[in-house]
Symmetry: C2
Subunit: 511 residues, 2 copies
């Protein structure tokens, strides 16, 4: 019997072979993913430092041998005014899988820290061309790298590196070539920009498409959300491995102090109460705990129910004002409503759900449409597997809110978290964690109730108007009769009465 042969592959090699996992399945999907991953890196690098984003994206066809049918080679350029990347970090940040700035407990668009590298890797394996990356962190000088990736070794190969004067520009520029199919991905790419503009109304985004058409999404507000902060892990989400690591890093001292300093929202009172619950001496040194004690400690962390819920302040939701600005700017609805839910948590990870609803107007088509967002990323693929879709299609009955099935209605869901429970590296859809599902359900019900109030008011104004129309036909007659009855020639001021009534009904709108 021959031996089973084992081989080791590098992380780059793994994702090179299994690029479907990261959203780079074919030239159409890959073009969309590359645009999106680079734009998201750019937005993250602005928002983290509260810089109003200016993003410029250009997609240019590269003719080879006069052929002009898709799929073909494109040049993708993404330029931002973000914080920039230190020159020393550039090669690894863009040329090494599992090397990145996203591996922390902080809300960010990026979650797996590999989108930029995957885009470059895909460009390389389809066109064999190097990528060009330039960045300035100070606005004085920039450094420019031309590089490729050694996929088998998961390491960057720098071909050239040069310095130049930045002349006030701070930010990052990435230019790469890749095989793409714009014919089949153009609608998704355009939806991506449109929906990004909806939840990022404080950004200026310019997209030059392969035909030279300029799509400009103009800033609608100067208000930016507070940058997300890094947070400590919540005790409910910690496993034995994490406890062991924290103890290894612990400077020494009693376990109750260890808990206060390394866990999210644990004060002295809760720490002592918890240790009593777990049957652990509060003065014990954590490093002295044995294997079984560590397991029991961890299990007690999960079962103790008096820890404070995670604090939503480490998250950066859109907020009603920015969300509303985006909806008004992009959807121009007749009516809109927003439900901003309180912070909640799953497995110790804090999250916030925001739900928007837009109704009527010229741009919203008949029928219910769902727009999904997670940490401000539009999610455009695999709608049917997403928890928001599950809630909308299975748990919400529009009839209960007196809304017609074909009403011109858009529901917008936004889940933000230090860790969005995506089910794929390609970030297409959110798993149906029960806690997330519940918040979405309640949020969607909230906005639908607001719509119901609005519609019934519009309905009653409509009924009132019809009544008034009838009144106005008979009023003069009735007025004349009444005047005759009381023996006067002066008619009562019925016109004014009718007008006033309508005005009072329609005066305030619940938004």
């Amino acid at each position: 019997m021959s031996k089973t042969v084992f081989t080791e592959i590098s992380p780059s090699e793994f994702f090179y072979r299994n690029r479907d996992l990261a959203g780079f399945s074919n030239p159409s999907r890959a073009l969309y993913s590359a645009v999106r991953e680079l734009v998201e890196n750019s937005l993250d690098s602005c928002e983290l430092y509260k810089i109003l984003p200016e993003i410029y994206v250009r997609l240019t066809p590269v003719q080879i041998d006069g052929e002009n049918s898709d799929p073909k080679h494109y040049e993708l350029l993404v330029l931002d005014n973000g914080s920039g990347i230190e020159a020393e970090q550039i090669p690894k940040a863009f040329g090494r899988i599992f090397y990145g700035s996203k591996y922390k407990l902080r809300q960010a668009r990026g979650m797996f820290g590999m989108g930029g590298t995957m885009s470059i890797l895909y460009g390389q394996i389809t066109t064999n061309k190097p990528v060009e990356i330039a960045s300035s962190t100070d606005g004085l000088t920039f450094e420019k790298f031309i590089m490729m990736i050694d996929i088998e070794r998961n390491t960057p190969i720098v071909l050239t590196r040069e310095k130049g004067a930045a002349n006030g520009w701070r930010g990052t520029k990435v230019k790469l070539r890749l095989e793409g199919d714009y014919l089949r991905s153009s609608s998704k790419i355009q939806d991506y920009f449109k929906n990004t503009a909806l939840v990022t109304p404080y950004a200026n985004i310019t997209f030059i498409d392969p035909n030279g058409k300029v799509l400009h999404y103009k800033r609608g507000t100067d208000i930016m959300p507070e940058p997300p902060r890094e947070t400590l892990p919540h005790p409910h989400g910690i496993d034995v491995e994490a406890v062991k690591r924290m103890i290894r890093l612990w400077k020494g001292g009693p376990i109750y102090k260890f808990m206060i300093q390394t866990f999210h929202r644990v004060g002295e009172k809760i720490a002592l109460d918890f240790l009593k619950y777990a049957g652990i001496d509060p003065q014990i040194e954590p490093k002295s705990l044995g294997n079984d004690e560590l397991v029991r400690f961890t299990e007690a962390l999960h079962s103790y129910d008096k820890f404070l819920p995670p604090d939503g302040r480490c998250l950066s939701p859109l907020g009603e004002e920015i969300f509303a600005a985006g909806i008004v700017k992009e959807l121009k609805p007749e009516f809109y409503a927003i439900a901003a839910r309180e912070p909640s948590a799953y497995s110790g990870f804090p999250f916030i759900v925001e739900v928007g609803l837009a109704y009527g107007g010229k741009t919203i088509q008949p029928g219910l449409k769902l727009l999904r967002f997670a940490n401000r990323i539009p999610l455009l693929y695999d709608e049917g597997s997403d928890v928001s879709w599950k809630v909308v299609s299975e748990e919400i009955d529009l009839k209960r809110y007196k809304v017609q099935q074909d009403a011109p209605l858009t529901i917008i869901t936004h889940v933000c978290s230090t860790k969005v429970p995506y089910k794929t590296v390609g970030k297409e859809y959110i798993a149906d964690r029960p806690e997330v599902e519940k918040e979405l359900r309640n949020g969607i019900r909230d906005v639908l109730r607001k719509l119901q109030v609005y519609l019934s008011r519009v309905g009653s104004i409509e009924r009132q108007r019809r009544k008034m129309n009838i009144y106005s036909r008979y009023m003069p007659l009735i007025a004349r009769f009444s005047a005759a009855l009381v023996g006067t020639k002066k008619l009562p001021p019925y016109n004014k009465l009718i007008g006033l009534d309508v005005f009072q009904e329609g005066g305030d709108e619940d938004v």
Copy 2:
């Protein structure tokens, strides 16, 4: 402005943090995934060497502090009679992500080479206990390892290693502890075994559940499919990166010879015709090709349409006989049909679709049920995202085949390929590659047409019987009349006529 901080994480660390990606989201799902991943490794190690599998799986609750509610700790034991693993390979094979035996162009249940390691990693982070692995490759001696994983370094830590007498046992045994929720996963785990038995009727599988109940899936046939063979890459599926690597390994010589020896199903005639099409001198040495020439060469590989399709002989489908044995054994239907499609290919990867249909009988419930398999793995989660579900729910109209909506019907799809286009590392569902979709559609139509023929025959037999019932009531009378008419007392043999007629109609069944 503070600097953006970059960090590097190991592959183990990545999947530790993002274990949802690999199917280890929570104690219920993780228990299912661990059972499944280890059983699949065991089956692969038998089938690759055409050993009739004997798999023993035991799940035992581990009581801690007298608690007995789920989730709790379980001990999972999986024992097989497969080929065994060389002792030198065991620590890395089970303690290092991206180190495995599945990284080749060969059909196997495992695809990402990380299921075993992920199960052990999950066990460790929830129970902090080491795993025990024993294996024998010769039946004479075995080696046993007790080990853990250093997740931050992606490397195994061997605690003990010992040798013993195997006494004729060859195979592998894995015993680990993990947190699980059997209460919530028992139905999936049992479905998993039942469905595995359906497509692996040549295996003996024993499962002892946490309550001590023995579920025994007995071998129904001794016929085993031919083991899959490793294959060369098909020119349609090769990217520039792959071409570069192949050239690097090329021993030297003209490009037409390079093509014949490194590509799947390329002979001299096709190689020369292709090189003419691509405008490349057949005598050129591949190593002398420049960057742009490599890109043009690769693009020509994709656009040239006279390459032979991938050869299905490198695949190992179930085959009609084994598939039928499984269906009969597990579903006991009134009628079944199988459609074995011809080999096809997507992106240069060969695949074969087999579709089974089972109708009626005592175990099949009313309504259409879909069972999905890929490389003999039952796929039990995320049905709604799978291409088979898409075909069944959107593209097939049962009415066209005169099948009632609530007919007791099970459709079984099996896709086998050197690379199944899964969309997640957890192997839950298959992407809707158009080529795969088409084969599934045609296969499902095939079996439904066979069902239609069967049902119409059953229907006509039914009608015939009813007619015969009426005949048999009036026949004696008619016979007597006829006899009287011709002036005889001997009646014609009408009973025999009726019987013969029915027998002829129902004699042959199209399976």
